[in-house]
């Protein structure tokens, strides 16, 4: 049965767009789609991922190896030797090696934390949207509670009471930002259940698992990813802040914030020990935010 609406191909709109783009030129179109800062951000994130994955191979020294004869030696760009391109710290440990390992640890904690927080948020959001009633009220109250307390203070309280181990610290980071994912998951799921595809699939007779995991999750994924690009850099900042205070990652392990914290005492005499980790923190959070903003514009214009 051929109908009138079959005649209107979906390609028509795309061709119109392509014409406009041709006028701007290929290069212009590329830069419009991917501004230089976003490109830089993507490149930096890729570099950080490579560093994190191949940290062992890339680090010239063991990150705990001390060279007491070369304590506080300056980096190459401040007249130092190539043996320690970014200089050494107060115990003669190679800053570059420590930086590389720190990148791995900090990214790992941020990744794990982001994943846990997204998981908690999505599960609670689904539960609230599925059961409504008192379950939803309980979740909303928890969201209110989490959103109304500065997370740093809560984290400090937990650390005070439980002491600090890496596993606990990672779990604690996983409680950051779950309320954002939960809000998104709940809101979109309620909409999908009430008059959307999720309600339709449920009415076909599909199990809740099928509805939420196979249908709702892929549909809200783009919005969730955008919210993750907000959580991830904030987690890096939080982790480095706590480690800076000496309450996060504990020595002999190292992280970016930890390096800045211990380098602070040498701000005057050996600023390079804290300069490179600071630069890495700023560039990484900056890059993720840039890429996140760009993703937000492309994937989900409704989320600001």
């Amino acid at each position: 049965m051929a109908s009138v609406d079959d005649l209107r191909g979906p390609g028509a709109g795309i061709e119109l767009e392509a014409e406009g783009a041709a006028e701007r030129g290929l290069l212009g179109r590329f830069f419009l789609a991917c501004p230089p800062l976003v490109l830089f951000g993507l490149a930096w994130i890729a570099l950080m991922l490579v560093v994190a994955v191949f940290a062992d191979a890339l680090a010239p020294y063991e990150y705990t190896a001390m060279d007491l004869r070369a304590r506080l030696s300056p980096p190459v760009f401040m007249g130092g030797a190539w043996a320690h391109p970014l200089g050494t710290d107060e115990l003669g440990r190679d800053v570059l090696s420590r930086l590389i390992v720190s990148i791995r640890i900090s990214l790992l904690i941020a990744f794990a934390g982001t994943f846990i927080s997204a998981f908690i948020g999505v599960v609670l959001g689904f539960l609230a949207a599925h059961f409504r009633g008192w379950v939803e009220h309980a979740v909303l109250t928890l969201i209110d509670f989490q959103a109304s307390m500065p997370f740093m203070i809560m984290a400090l309280a937990v650390l005070a009471f439980f002491g600090n181990t890496l596993a606990l610290f990672v779990c604690l980071m996983g409680f950051y930002g779950w309320e954002r994912a939960a809000r998104i998951a709940r809101g979109l799921t309620i909409a999908a259940n009430q008059q959307g595809y999720a309600g339709a699939v449920r009415n076909i007779g599909a199990s809740p698992f099928r509805v939420y995991v196979l249908h709702v999750l892929p549909n809200i994924a783009s919005t969730l990813i955008v919210s993750i690009t907000l959580t991830f850099p904030e987690l890096i900042l939080l982790e480095s802040g706590l480690s800076f205070l000496g309450l996060g990652v504990q020595p002999p392990m190292t992280s970016l914030g930890n390096m800045v914290g211990y380098g602070r005492d040498y701000l005057q005499s050996a600023p390079w020990t804290l300069l490179s980790p600071s630069v890495v923190i700023v560039l990484t959070t900056f890059s993720i935010s840039m890429v996140g903003d760009w993703l937000r514009d492309r994937l989900d214009p409704t989320l600001q």
Binding site: S3, V4, D6, Q195, R202, G205
Partner: protein
Amino acid sequence: MSALLEVQDLARHFAVRLPGGLLGRPGRLRAVDGVSFSLAPGRTLGIVGESGCGKSTTARLVLGLEQATAGIVRFEGRPVPARRNADWRALRRRMQMVYQDPLGALDRRLPALSQVAEPLAVFGIGTRAERRERAAALLASVGLTPRLQGRYPHELSGGQRQRVVLARALVLEPALLVCDEPTSALDVSIQAQVINLLTDLQAEFGVALLIISHDLKVVRQVSHEVAVMYLGRIVEQGEPEALFRAPAHPYTKALVSAIPSPWRSEGAQRILLEGDPPNPIQVPAGCAFHPRCPWAMPVCASERPALTEIGGGRRAACHLLTPAASAAA
């Protein structure tokens, strides 16, 4: 012929809070208030009424998507469960729904073919290849060429989307299809196609249809029987031709007279309804329609008319049509 679907004294009330914040009195919204009808296999019942008359709630009650406050829905002789248990799920193979907004009812991340194959996967019918084959065959029979079957919902037109929704509902070969405003989101030119498709599919699959619509045209074209609802109750019921040619209930008269028609005789007046639009929270006592009825009598304000036979297989609920009440007035 025994009925496929039997609905008896079905009611659905909602607890609501009347305006006034914390001080507001709790109220009762009578969305559906004592509705009875039955539907034979392979036949079509159309339910018409204004928005807010309870027709969509009736549809949801029939499918067991909502818990009835009172009354019972029997499907193939057994009550329809309103909780989502194993029985309820098993019943989905026999009764399915078609939605008003096809774009919203489809998962926009799946191509048409996968959407139609999904119900089979939900019930574990056949292998993956067999499911896709069945889905493709069904999509072809609703008029979607193989080229269109791989497309995503947003790449299809409104009419094509509704065809996908229809195919998805039919793929389990249900005995009953409940269509809630199946055409109101579509362009007028495409409405006719979908209506024709519905009747074709009924002939092909022998499925019974319950069509919910505010559009008299649609209901008239597809239905074997029509029920007119007003404020949660059926006020008139009968065969479409007779009912629309000579409406008995004043409300039906008003509805029918509002259809623009080039054949309307010069003498026929349009009946303009007066008074407030119906509010299901404050249903008037007696006949719910009496405040707006041009022929209202004193008895209409006090006694609620029952739905009674008025001859010719038709039923209506109006005091004007029952001799005793008319005589008393």
